[in-house]
Symmetry: C2
Subunit: 598 residues, 2 copies
């Protein structure tokens, strides 16, 4: 289907927006009038620029407060409309959005509304322009799509149809099924927006918190199915007012936007996108490593240096099924001047299909030279710039990346680590919604609840995404904290390693002089008050610096190492099917980490 | 009255918070348990630290989900309570806050609730501890203060009283008058918070948007009067959950907090604060000026260089009653490496009284050596670091700052400027609420509605404060925009000069080759559609680059100069009592300014 987007969705000048919209691959654009007014470009120049970029101007919006007003006001409205028709002709736009009136002057009179809209449509038609009438959720008298449709039907003019907006319909809890009663050719336009479920004033909700379909909690895909059953053939267009997007990078927001529509089309069965290949585990985590700290930390954690890359300054470290790649060839020129997580290898049954889907969903494909291995490795960049490699490790049907490493005799004493439990990535401040949409659509991971965790200097927003069986878990974090709250405070990433016996792992760390992050005694006093733990276990937790959590199913023990550059390790032990990430302990952990660096 | 504050109001570690709270001048503190848990300091150490700082620990909070539960749960609750009583004894705290239960296990049974709270109070009393029971606005069965009071009265134990919280009471729209029926000695604690009026879920509203009294829309002062009539003698304590304060500077948030309580006490008639001396005009605006740009701009605007300071590199420029001081002695060491607004002189009838009130409201008093004049000038620092001088210009009863300037022969041709209309100051990102409280309480200015204005790269929040007669107007702005959106984008300040004939002023600027900020033609097309302006006026506006607005009373013409460093000038003409600031034109102006610098 044709895709379109309102210029109000993006940050920047009108020219910057048009450029980004075309570069992302949209077919058309809704010109939001305020963007036009603030632009130094004439309507003719904007028309030419859109044409150069291959963008259709699908809609000019909004025109307000038209219907059901006393006669003298109507004359002023029509005068105003004629001026806007003239602008639209210069712009080459032939569809105008008219929102239902919010004016105190508007009367609750459908017949009058229909008559006046018909008059407006007649005037529009004389300019080759059509009118799409939309019910705002907070319209004074008309605030549901079925009411708007009744008026449009009554007006009965070929240049008058309706515009449906998923936010206005779903935010009020209207049943979208009734859409199917509208003839598709009378639906002149379809605007799509999602929003997180919030109990707040609908106008404020709409103006500040809308997001792209699939990023919120509204059933936009379900609504689309109803619309498609009418025979609607117009574009799918995004109209999102979002304070964060307003400040975001224009080009990447445009890509994020188009990704949401591609995924929405897939949900509606309208595309032949390659099916997701859900990853089945972590093949490896690659760290940019300068200096001796990370090798020392891995040794303390019981990892063995098992291989050396045959042509690059890269080492493989292993313990159980946990594989860490240390790359000392990543420096300032590749954006890793300090130890940081550079890449994640994801185990999939079909790396090429994984990469194909990622490409179809506009994930940036990475040049091959960055791959740690020379074996064919398909890679894309995640929203936080971490590189995602699709791997098939040591299966006879596929070359394995491990083949590029020359084995070394391993000598370390293992410490109970079995595999990578999860990886926590810090998202760029303005792209948290983008990240969860990316992992859901590109990798087929399931997003969990979004959490807000107290940091001594602000808040940490955190949302996990995981495969159905929990074999791949990612925690997506964004820190909203004071800029002066310590080095890398808002940039920390970590790798959580699962231990089959975290008590033994912790004792080993103490013995090696690398004890876990110190946890305050007050935490253990509170733990004793909150849970009736076995006194022996409680003593052990306190003695070793282990954190504890429990959920309906089971319990969770965890500890943290020191931070090296941007990276630290967590060691976790999941007992009896515990599903979380110890979020209740995050404030204590964050405070302890701040205390270490200040 | 004694003042106190919950540690959760501030950013930082518990130790940082205690230090800032004591430095601001509070008498006591509520220890928020999560701050204790995340602290490496033992309860004994915190007790000692508070004592060193002269802070009483007035409350330990919160203890949750106590009342009206089945027997087995009660036993667990009491076990948990005993652990917390032990912590409180170590901490030296003798008052515990118990919130009404939100647990699904809680029964709707007041008799049972009273019985179990009485039991808890008995246990507490054995440790010398008292219990303050508080109705949360979202409590499962108990969510109003009168309901909580009925239960406390029924429980009838000397160690059990209630805690009143202005947010929980006023957010639900409860009538606070009923508070007067509670004996003062049974009100064990009073927590105060304000909040902007918002139609949203009360729990979310409470957790993220509370603010200090006088910063929001709740009648906290009215509630306090009811409480005081009961004979309540405990502290006034602030409990504010605010995402912005969490990230703010700890010390200044603490000062802002105490200022709100001082003003609240004044409103309740409990202090002998000097009355506000509302400024009656702008004496001058002082600009840090390096280079020739500002003198050139002032000349173009028709200002004459009328005086030179007798001992400092400072010049006085005048036109009508508008006085601009250019100070070339302010450089990097004083924080003004580029042209910026450094100070405002405010005309008051009693500078010493103005300064006295500012001091009493904790405004930082500035050292005398910064004053442009050698005549006694009282000055304080505003929240954005602009210096506010209280002046009495050329009145025989007071030395005038102008006496320090040696007059010069003025030769410029004036351009119609009559006086400074308003000054727009950019507030530090996390201190917008602080700013409006500061100007309201310290200067007695009236805050107007808070506006959100679209910027191409984000949003500008703006709130005006003014004297009753409009002779002093300040616009307080905070830019929430992309950091890469151009030099000084988020730091711009401006001085708006009133012209008695802005058309003449504009023509002069054109003639001198310094035309106003270019305004897009699209703006004028829209203006023509929106207003039925006289065609001649419309042509003039377009030709000269003037912006237009109107309100119920009158109309408003304005223009902007180029920006020099952080500063630009606006020229305005208010016609027939127009009261606003042309906010409707702000998006067009902001876009035009971005276009100039990119």
């Amino acid at each position: 289907m044709r895709t379109s987007i309102a210029t109000v969705c993006l940050s920047g000048t009108l020219e910057e927006k048009l450029t980004a919209i075309a570069a992302a691959g949209f077919d058309g654009v809704e010109i939001f009038e305020n963007d036009l007014l603030a632009s130094p470009l004439s309507p003719e120049r904007i028309r030419d620029r859109a044409a150069e970029l291959g963008l259709a101007i699908d809609l000019f919006q909004p025109f307000r407060d038209v219907e059901a007003v006393p006669e003298d006001l109507l004359a002023r409205t029509l005068r105003r409309a004629e001026k806007k028709f003239a602008v639209m002709e210069r712009l080459g736009a032939d569809l105008m959005l008219v929102c239902s009136s919010v004016s105190p002057a508007a009367l609750d009179d459908d017949a009058l509304a229909a008559e006046q809209l018909r008059l407006l449509a007649e005037r529009a038609a004389a300019h080759g322009i059509r009118i799409a009438y939309e019910a705002l959720a907070w319209g004074r008298h008309v605030n549901t799509y079925d009411h708007a449709w009744r008026i449009v039907r009554q007006a009965d003019h070929p240049a008058l149809g309706i515009c449906l907006d998923s936010f206005h319909i779903l935010s009020r809890g209207s049943d979208p099924k009734g859409i199917e009663e509208i003839p598709g050719e009378k639906i002149f336009f379809l605007q799509l927006a999602d929003a997180p479920l919030m109990a707040m004033d609908v106008l404020q909700w709409s103006r500040h918190y809308r997001c792209f379909p699939g990023q919120g909690g509204l059933d936009v895909a379900g609504l689309l199915e109803h619309v498609l059953r009418t025979g609607y053939e117009g574009p799918l267009s995004l109209e999102v007012f979002n304070d964060v997007f307003r400040q975001g990078d224009t080009a990447r927001t445009a890509v994020d936007a188009l990704r949401s529509l591609i995924a929405l089309e897939e949900a509606a069965g309208r595309t032949d996108l390659p099916a997701p290949v859900v990853p089945t585990g972590f093949a490896f985590a690659e760290l940019a490593s300068t200096g001796p700290e990370l090798p020392a930390l891995l040794t303390e954690l019981g990892f063995a240096r098992t291989g050396r890359h045959h042509s690059k300054p890269v080492e493989l470290w292993e313990q159980g099924d946990a594989r860490i790649v240390l790359n000392s060839g990543l420096d300032a020129t590749t954006g890793h001047p300090e130890p940081a997580l550079a890449a994640i290898g994801l185990e999939t049954s079909d790396p090429a299909a994984s990469a194909g889907r990622a490409r179809a969903l506009l994930a940036p494909v990475l040049p091959r030279h960055r791959a740690v291995a020379d074996a064919p490795l398909d890679a894309v960049a995640a929203p936080d710039s971490t590189e995602l490699f699709f791997c098939r490790t040591e299966h006879p049907d596929h070359p394995s990346w491990t083949g590029d490493f020359t084995p070394r005799a391993a000598s370390a004493a293992p410490a109970g680590i079995t595999h990578i439990d999860h990886v926590a990535l810090t998202q760029p401040r303005h792209h948290f919604d983008e990240a969860s949409l990316f992992y859901r659509t590109v990798l087929g991971l399931r997003p969990h609840e979004s959490l807000e965790l107290a940091d001594p200097y602000g808040l940490l927003r955190s949302r996990a995404v995981s495969g159905a069986d929990g074999s791949v878990r990612l925690a997506l974090n964004v820190a909203q904290i004071r800029p002066d709250s310590g080095p890398s405070g808002s940039l920390r990433q970590h790798i959580a390693l699962h231990s089959r016996d975290i008590v033994a792992t912790a004792r080993r760390l103490w013995e090696l002089g690398a004890p876990p992050l110190p946890i305050p005694g007050n935490y253990y006093d509170d733990l004793e008050a909150r849970h009736e733990l076995d006194p022996g276990l409680h003593r052990t937790l306190r003695e070793l610096g282990l954190l504890y959590d429990q959920d309906d199913g089971g319990s969770f023990l965890h500890l943290y190492t020191a931070t090296v550059g941007r990276v630290f390790f967590e060691v976790v032990q999941r007992i009896d099917g515990y599903q979380g990430y110890g979020a209740a302990n995050a404030p204590v952990r964050l405070a302890a980490q701040h205390a270490r660096v200040r």
